[in-house]
Symmetry: C5
Subunit: 397 residues, 5 copies
């Protein structure tokens, strides 16, 4: 995710571009996830995935009066002194990338995290969840979604720990969807800077939730494109595959948002001393947003099911049309072919021994024989055409 | 919504008119909603949607004895003094249109609303809900539905705050479905004027609920029209599209009414000091109405599913009929064509060297050859027709 | 409902009779209901439906020793004195027909009913429900079902209020299904007369519940008839419509019985002082009955789904059979037609200039040409028939 | 059920035998049940079904030391004295057959049963249930199943009342599935004889539950036979009917077992003083068994749904195959027929007036005309065969 | 399961190999299970299944300082003394194989197990479950899964009892999936050796859970192979059977994992004194894993349903294509055949008596007759080809 074009790639790619290699209607991420979780190790053992980025460490420190920003990449040892020095600030310690096991273990120790929690951070296939630990600290997992050009939902994990005056967040990518929040923190007029530190945790969750809408909008756009393609009788190749693929995305999205909703509901049930009522008002708003996102996903599911019905009925209609053409042509010409075949028979007027055989096809020797046959055949055709017209087979339906 | 014809447009439009442009079987409102919710801003930031109407401000003031009506559009500053002056009245402050941000912020401040609540009012895609704030004040959201000529369910949001002696309501349109209620307030004999102010909030909710029935009736009428069209064997174009479209409406309606029911259930669970038992009797009645509306929606869903089954089976029957015509014509004439082809063969009686070939099609030289062949062919046809008759292929089924 | 033939019309009408006009697979009652509920009036306003019958008023009074019956139609003013005079009796005040608004209002006042309750009585589309009012009085709504000749479920509402020594019941028809109960009350040996007045309310509910079984039995009979019709390969016209229609009935029935079950479950949860344990034993029995009725309805739903599967597969089988006939005839005769066409070609032995052309169809000049061709064609037919026999296309499946 | 072959008839009958008359895919027992429940009588009225067997009365008495068995058929008056005499024994009073109303009423009175309970015993369509009455006595209903030769699930009701030192059981048949239990009681080494009387009630329930497994195994065998029949491409007649029928059985079985599970769960929730913990351990085991039986039923349901999918796809494949044969034959021979027809045209070289017409089918007069045509036709056939081979139409799929 | 290749056989076998005999789309294990559970015996009777392996008995003893391993197969009498001698160790007593009834009864007695529990161990079709007994001891059942070469899920039961300083585990196979755990126990640096004995029970459960992922990954790989096969238009034989079979596996897997999740949830609800909070943190992690496995299974179910849709639509497309070929060939050649048949008619110019019949097919005598007919036929073909091209029947879709 590059912050500069964070919303642009969410736009639905043109129908024509979407058959890229790797296109799949099944949820291959699930299998990849199962494969990576295979390793049966001691619970709480930290494992760095191959290809994990080298961690970068940013700190935003703010209070009512000021906002400082610093990067501690490659100089972690200066972080704790810095935090002690700025004890009157609230800090957002923002770790991006996991590719340094000793650093991760150091962070775990210095910020009092449980090995199992750190394992959840590094194995980044966690569902959204909330855990209370150390009598009042919160550990939250959120999933940030993005709808890629390849019609896939790409989701990254954001893990977040609260402390007395800091929020410690982890993600595996350098870019994220939180830049709008950073801008708000920098602003001297932002009310955010006056709220307690827990509000920062809320604000991060809320921005993540807000980013579900562009994903949904992109999916919705694509569904509309598919619908228009069907209505315009212009069927792109492998239309059903496309429908099934977008269905997969919606199903995946629902599976991402359900735990998010449950997470917020659980926060709302936390006692007053952990999450005060003044903050819960905001979480109640976030809860409404999560419900709305689920509502949208349900809507989309119904839409896709309607599209599938339409597709299958359309497929059946096409078959019907093919059959009608065959039937009309066949039923018109097969009887005619019989008639002309009839008068192609070689019954002889003469048995070869000079006996005249008057019953053998006297029509062939009649002066009006041919015109009469042509007239009869015309009548047959006219009758059939009338019958088909009455049946409505000649018109479009 | 114009009050004058508030029920008329709810009548189902004729089948013929319904293929207007913009006709869709997918829920495009959902996508539009997702798009508008995209903006990731500070929670509680007020945003006026483009094209929002300039707010008009009406106040109805009543007590047992009298009923006053006034409009404060463009002179908001006179509103608070007016309310203080008429402290012995109950007031319905009725704001229509959101297109004036400073006024909205002023209202928020003057009537003690939370910014998140005001955001919910302005972002008008909220599900029906109830919130208690300020120890006893209620914030309710309802959705008013209308079934448009274009077979869409059009729904507007009605937001409502209660106060010590007033109800403050917001909606984005100048016209609404509440005129019948206004008439009742004006009437000197109305019991409504003797009830406490919370009853007004109830009465508004109840009128909104009552307006679900015409929507449902219009949907039901359309379903019946579709059923009759199928039974009459007159299939309008794109019949399945129509069925899927009305299905979309029913699904959308259910999604609107479910939160409404939950809202009322939540009101019924509120403590006696917020909503007294004498009022709950009325809400219990409203609850029954919401359940009935949901029951209707479930009924419609089953009906639409039956229509779809019928449509698909009918499609299959038509195919069957086409195939039967083809089969009957083919099986009758193909063997006949063979017979006449047989006697069209040119086997010679004479090998060209004067040898007589008695086995080469002696039938052609028989005096009864042709009549016999015609007789045999007639027998074949008769046998086949009898077979088809026994199979029931000649009758309609 | 005429008591004399109350069970007879429940028998399933013959398949042949059932295509009466008005036959519908969609739930038109639902739409009618939505239409009638359209009127948006003050809650608690009493409305008499057009065509409501003139009320008739019967009272059955009984105690351990005696049972009196009286009709107070057109002399309502004598009712209250009569009740006071017979204070040592228990009374069943039985109002049939709603067509007299002043009388309804009078009853409401005299028996202490809430306007909203009276509205529920008159608007007779209420689901089964139970309400406790006035600290211990019960208001119950039941739905009486009947399976009509037209394969519709006809349901009437029975509303019932308990009082200190009376039960007040309302229904909109003169005839009902409660005559068996009246006979029991009249009998001097009936234990019913010794039970407290609440038992009468239970007994009425129980008789209504018992009348669900004939409805179910009639539906079951019809389903069996449909099954037999499919198995006998005699398909009545519009068979799918019939299946869908009976499905509608089952769905409607379930929707009627579910609230009935919930009502009884709610009664079982009422405190001892309102419904004593000695009565709850009976309600527990009624609860078992309601569950059994729902079980039956579920059974029927599964049966109908099986019938639909069978119908669709049968439809597909018929298509298959049609195609097989076409294929067998075509594949046998099309090659033969080619052969006979082959020897119908006019290739000449002589180029018109006296040159002998020995390669031009010498078969035609061979002495065994024709018999050989006939033999070859017989072989082709035999081979094909053997192939079809092996494929099993010649046998029925 | 004859004890001697109680497990044998549970084996799945051969596919060939199963189309006995009375074969049905709908649940006719349900309708029969609805019919018998029609009678709307006073609750608690005892009715003996027509054809009920004359009751036989057996008593097994046991304590740690001894086990007595006696039959009291036709001498009920000796039963109570016998019980008093053997007060130090535990008794299993086993009533088989209901066809004697006075005896039933006598039993009801002597053993303190409620009329509604006795009605449940005699109307033997009760779901499994448990009721506590008389402060600690239990009334349990179980359903014993058997899978008949006719592929039906036959279920009988076993009703059971506990008393201080006896269990009173009712069933409508002389034979049952409890003989294995009787053998255990007779054995001097059985721990059962040392357990309190409630254990006997448990043991009866447990044996009934255990008999669900042979029923399931028989259904499973039949499903496997159906699967093998489909895989072997040998489709017995009316295969779908068979599938739907076995589906009906599975659905019916689930409906029998669900209440059984709920019954046991309810027993587990009973207070310690009614069902002591030492007994609950056994019921917990029975609960696991009921869950396992439900699991099996769910498995079977999935299996049947897979079979149906396979059947329908197979049906479609057969159609496809038929069409392919038709298409191959037609597309090969129809063009050939055109060619040979072409050279069967009678265009003359001579206009009848001596003018030579050189353009009229000179091919017919060419020395290589016929061989060339035969060659061309061979090429056409070869090309088409190659095309079909490439398409894979000539191979099996 | 051989430990050496415990993960290798989990890889999906090649599509080509998978039609081994015994291939089934129905859950035959279920039927086998039902058959084995048929025996209706005294609850708590121990039965050894035929073919059960001779038990082998291993003990791993560890404390912070040391780890001992010993095998007690064939010398059970030395086990208890050994345990007493090493009372300062924690022991994992690992029984593999059940084929020795006296030994099993001895174990039951020596370790204080309930006969019903022992029955659950030996009858190894138990769902995953947890029971607390003897005031704090735990009895857990887990199911270990493996995905076999034959595309079946093979599951073995692991039963586990906790004691004051030991865990007693039972399984019916010599090899299992726990070797990674044994390696961890042997390691002197393992934290496991410092945890209390209950942690060992957790660790075993956790390893079993971890082994669900390779099973899922193998299923996912196979689903992807199926998808690729469909997309590549190379359909292996019996493709639907394969899809249905893998569906069976997924369904079976879900049924295995659901009780596992419930088991862990129940452990989380156990009171602090049985399972301390420090251990529950780990179980919470295991709970997340179980939920993830279920999520994966749901994903796979959706995928398989998409594959089935695609398969069926593809089947329909193939039919369509066949029909299109037939229709194109037929509609082109049938009219042509009529034309050539027309000019094959033998209408004579001469009635045999010397009268000239000028109307009888003068075309045949025209100098341009044949070229004209050929031209007309070419036009017909060209027109039809253009029509089919416009319809898109000549292109691939």
């Amino acid at each position: 995710m590059t912050p500069s074009n964070s919303s642009a790639p969410n736009r639905s790619p043109a129908l024509a571009e979407t058959m890229a290699p790797g296109f799949s209607i099944t949820d291959r991420d699930a299998t990849r996830q199962a494969r990576e979780l295979e390793v049966g190790q001691r619970p709480g053992t930290l494992n760095i995935r191959d290809g994990a980025l080298k961690p970068r460490l940013f700190v935003m420190s703010y209070n009512d009066a000021a906002c400082l920003e610093a990067e501690f990449t490659d100089r972690y040892n200066e972080l704790l002194p810095y935090l002690q020095e700025h004890a009157d600030f609230k800090h957002w310690i923002d770790v991006r990338g996991y590719g340094d096991l000793p650093l991760m273990e150091q962070l775990m120790q210095d910020f009092g995290l449980h090995p199992l929690q750190m394992e959840d951070v590094l194995n980044d296939y966690q569902r959204a969840k909330i855990e209370v630990f150390d009598e009042g600290r919160l550990f939250m997992v959120s999933r940030m979604t993005e709808f890629t050009r390849n019609l896939e939902i790409d989701d990254d994990q954001l893990s977040l720990f609260t402390g007395p005056n800091y929020v410690l967040s982890f993600q595996d990518d350098y870019d994220d969807c939180l830049d709008s929040l950073r801008v708000r923190i920098r602003s001297n007029f932002s009310t955010l800077r006056r709220h307690p530190i827990l509000y920062l945790a809320y604000a991060i969750t809320d921005v993540v939730l807000d980013h579900y809408y562009p994903t949904m909008a992109a999916i919705g756009d694509y569904i509309e494109e598919l619908e228009e393609a069907i209505f315009a009788d212009k069927r792109p190749r492998r239309l059903l595959n496309r429908i099934l693929r977008i269905k997969k995305d919606v199903v995946r999205f629902r599976r991402l948002v359900y735990p998010e909703r449950d997470k917020i509901a659980e926060i709302l049930r936390l006692p007053e001393e952990i999450v005060p009522e003044t903050l819960k008002i905001f979480y109640r708003d976030a809860y409404d947003h999560a419900i709305q996102a689920l509502d949208l996903a349900e809507s989309y599911r119904d839409n896709i099911s309607s599209l599938t019905d339409l597709y299958l009925s359309d497929q059946s209609n096409r078959m019907n049309e093919v059959m009608k053409v065959l039937t009309i042509i066949s039923t018109i010409f097969i009887p005619l072919s019989f008639v002309v075949g009839l008068y192609g028979m070689n019954f002889q007027r003469d048995d070869g021994h000079g006996h005249f055989l008057p019953l053998n096809m006297p029509e062939l020797y009649s002066p009006w024989g041919y015109p009469m046959v042509v007239f009869i055949m015309s009548m047959v055709v006219a009758t059939q055409l009338y019958y088909f017209y009455r049946k409505g087979w000649l018109t479009n339906r």
